[in-house]
């Protein structure tokens, strides 16, 4: 522990991403602090997903650094993963397990939040009553909400969401926006890509357009 603890922040410096000899983005820099959100925009294939996968530490950037609290995320490894939660294109839920089993598993595998049980998370995403239904029998939107419920059960400061609103209805989108808002108010951070306009406090939101 250092005495003057650096502020919790995610910082990207001069990131470059190359896929199949095509430069998707280069020289991308930004800084994300507590209670701030990053909205990544851009056309299909402009590298939004690649950027988010790099931010969560799954893919190495082709150039540049990503720092969490001043330290390289690839050096931090598990310590960084304990601070982040990722919901990607694929839900990451097992269709043969029930929602409750899915969440309990995700909770014990992550960095569990003692203040939020799997039941409470299901309730927050309005999935109460579906605890013991096989996930396979839920609708696409409900499966998506189950994936998003994973955000609440761990003590993740940084949420990384790739198209979180896919297959959600208006009501579902409102629930998720409300959760994101609460997360930011509580000092969390958010990095999100979306084709829907994301309804967040404009003062706390940084927008990056990868197509420009």
């Amino acid at each position: 522990m250092t005495l003057n603890k650096p502020v919790t922040a995610l910082e990207a410096r001069e990131l470059t991403c190359i896929r199949d000899d095509r430069t998707l983005f280069s020289g991308l820099s930004f800084r994300l602090q507590s209670s701030q959100a990053l909205v990544v925009e851009g056309r299909n294939g402009s590298g939004k997903t690649s950027l988010l996968r790099t931010l969560c530490g799954m893919a190495l950037p082709d150039a540049g650094d990503i720092l969490w609290c001043g330290e390289d995320i690839f050096r931090l490894g598990a310590d960084y993963h304990a601070c982040t939660a990722y919901v990607g294109h694929r839900d990451g839920v097992k269709l043969d397990l029930t929602p409750l089993e899915n969440l309990s598993f995700a909770r014990s595998l992550g960095n569990p939040d003692p203040d939020c049980t799997a039941h409470q998370a299901l309730e927050a995403l309005q999935l109460a009553g579906f605890e013991d239904v096989p996930t396979r029998n839920l609708s696409a939107g409900q499966q998506r909400r189950l994936a998003l419920a994973r955000l609440l059960i761990t003590r993740a400061r940084l949420w990384i969401l790739d198209e979180p609103f896919t297959s959600l209805d208006k009501h579902g989108i409102a629930i998720v926006e409300e959760l994101a808002h609460k997360h930011l108010v509580n000092g969390g951070m958010l990095a999100v890509t979306s084709h829907h306009p994301v309804n967040l406090d404009p003062g706390a939101t940084t927008r990056i357009n990868l197509s420009e």
Partner: protein
């Protein structure tokens, strides 16, 4: 930073995979059925002469076990890869190698252990003696975990490829050969009434090597495949 001990992460993933296999039982039945069918078809093909069967039996059973293990390998990561659970494992704060060890052990319990249970019956079918049959069981118990551990590295390397099956066989089969040679010759040697301690020591060494190196190699391979 992970607050829970490592054994906890190991156990919850192990239990989850067993539960999933229990709900999708075809994964357990398929390799077992293959193993039994191949072994049972051989006497029909080469004739039911007991002396002949006794001579080729160990090899037949071990080749069938090896191919059954190879066939079931791909299932270890496929569903996790397709539904995104594998990404979540990768992003877990727990060490990936421990999680990989949990996945391999669960996979072995699902696909390897059933082979051990029917092997003595197949030994009887091929007229192996009591000594050879006991050795068969012992070599399978030592050898099939090695097959799972080595195979998983190959699967981790090929999981992102659409048609990884062929490459997987090419990658993994050469590494399976030592297990096949020592295990089947141990069974033949035991059938001839000779000492098998050298064979067993080699198999145990292979198991120790695979057990200590494979989880880390699998974790590294998976990070490459998913990046």
């Amino acid at each position: 930073m992970s607050t829970a001990p490592l054994s906890h992460a190991y156990l919850i993933l192990f239990k989850r995979d067993l539960l999933l296999a229990f709900r999708k039982r075809a994964e357990i039945i398929n390799p077992l059925l293959f193993f039994v069918l191949v072994t049972a078809l051989f006497p029909l093909g080469i004739g039911a002469d007991p002396a002949l069967l006794r001579a080729v039996g160990p090899g037949i059973i071990w080749v069938a076990a090896l191919l059954a293990a190879l066939l079931s390998l791909e299932t270890i990561f496929r569903s996790d890869f397709e539904d995104g659970s594998l990404e979540q494992l990768l992003l877990s704060p727990h060490p990936l190698s421990v999680l990989m060890l949990a996945k391999v052990s669960a996979h072995w319990v699902i696909t390897g252990l059933p082979l051990l249970l029917v092997a003595p019956l197949l030994g009887l079918l091929l007229d192996l003696g009591a000594d050879a049959n006991a050795t068969l069981l012992l070599t399978l118990a030592l050898g099939t975990p090695v097959l799972s551990l080595i195979g998983t590295i190959g699967v981790a390397l090929t999981v992102g490829l659409r048609r990884g099956g062929m490459i997987l066989s090419l990658l993994v089969l050469p590494l399976y050969v030592p297990v096949l040679i020592f295990a089947s010759s141990a069974v033949s040697t035991a059938g001839a009434g000779l000492s098998i301690s050298a064979h067993l020591s080699l198999l145990i060494a292979l198991l120790a090597l695979a057990l200590s190196l494979s989880p880390a190699a699998t974790a590294a391979a998976l990070r490459i495949s998913l990046s």
